[in-house]
Symmetry: C2
Subunit: 249 residues, 2 copies
């Protein structure tokens, strides 16, 4: 297993936030998009769409929307990954029925999972052709601004973005919670988690020291700051305004 | 780009529903799990866990829960991919705060996206080591039964599963809606969709004929059946019972 180039691409994933001033050739970008296009999804519903942004002014605007993330303006390609139950609603209508799935937790959840599969393929494909990437959750900071900018119809939602370009830094592999607290055998082992978290806090602090990040925090400290509130509170209201529902099923 | 083994693995993805009676060696499975473990996620929250099921009786039970999907019992490995904001809640508590993110649409959506990224990595890694896979959304048919079987704590949810094993069939690559209706340039192009869908209906019917699937339907027909109702109506209630909320943000 130690000599598998594809596994290595995933094992060595790191976020790149500095890019060369070098465009991504169209055939390279096309190859990445095709790998994402072939990602499987729930019930062959094809409920994910991409908006591929290369226009510099539009990328600058997205950088702003995402909370001034300079790398979004700097990287030559930005891809918005959109949960798309508008496209499926046209399919349902063409089949002589009316779509209701978008009014359920189930519907939004499967679309979000499918968005993640596509994002996973985009990242692995990008690494495979020598591109660096960083996922951009910050587009959920102001979903309505993204919806307007990208001309997204009702029943779609821009869940996450990805910058792509040639890396101008090495990036850095963050340590993780132990493998055994990620992949449980047969049944979920809750008992091990407190100890794993305490140890991981120490490992992560050591990592920040090693790479000279004075502002680096323990995992529990940064999570306490991020998850004791709803980081992007416009997501629920904006999703409802787009026609999604979460009552009942 | 035409000579890239990693891209080919993604381009040639197909669902495998017949498996050889051949176990997955522990080192092979471990390599796949490690590739998934390294998948990036929202804010380093690590809000995804796997439960790796190899026990035959447990796999048989999951096959039943998923609506009698024989391949779940036949394949030697089943992996449940779990949205996990229990683990994060312990981290938040260790950081001296109280988690609220699980009560928001935003919270559930990002966890579902992260589940999808992990699933994407699992599938690509499985292909890279010569395994066949098929994603199993059917575990959402009776989420509570899965929660009980896998011993999942509050604030977790089993969103999707994956069978892994050595293929005993070739599987088949389904055609997709045109690439241009998946990857839009600069702005979402809604105008092209009706024509794309009509053409795809014809292409898909031709495909079913070619592979001798007499029950094959047009895309719009199968989507009308699947998306005019909520396919797994227990997802919303079960997610609420696990402690997730969808009101407000």
């Amino acid at each position: 297993m130690n000599n598998n180039a594809t596994l290595d691409l995933m094992l060595q994933h790191r976020s790149i936030r500095r890019y060369q001033e070098k465009p991504v050739p169209p055939d390279v970008l096309d190859a990445v998009l095709r790998a994402a296009w072939r990602a499987p999804g729930s019930m062959n519903s094809q409920q994910v769409s991409l908006v591929v942004v290369q226009d510099a002014a539009r990328r600058a605007r997205i950088a702003e929307i995402a909370g001034n993330q300079a790398w979004v303006a700097q990287a030559p390609v930005f891809i918005a990954i959109v949960a798309d139950q508008y496209k499926t609603s046209l399919g349902v209508a063409a089949g002589g029925a009316q779509q209701t799935v978008h009014s359920s937790v189930e519907g939004f959840a499967t679309a979000a999972v499918d968005v993640g599969i596509v994002l996973g393929n985009l990242m692995t494909a990008a690494h495979a052709v020598g591109l660096g990437v960083v996922p951009i959750g910050g587009i959920r900071r102001d979903p309505q601004a993204m919806i307007d900018l990208l001309g997204l119809p009702k029943l779609t939602f821009p869940l996450v973005g990805l910058t792509l370009g040639y890396a101008a830094e090495e990036g850095c592999c963050k340590p993780r919670l132990p493998l055994a607290s990620f992949a449980h055998a047969e049944r979920y082992d809750a008992a091990r988690l407190p100890q794993d978290i305490a140890e991981y806090d120490a490992v992560l602090c050591q990592h920040w020291q090693q790479i000279g990040r004075a502002d680096g925090e323990a995992w529990s400290a940064s999570l306490a700051a991020a998850y004791s509130r709803v980081y992007f509170p416009q997501v629920g209201p904006a999703a409802r305004a787009q026609g999604f529902g979460f009552d009942g099923e």
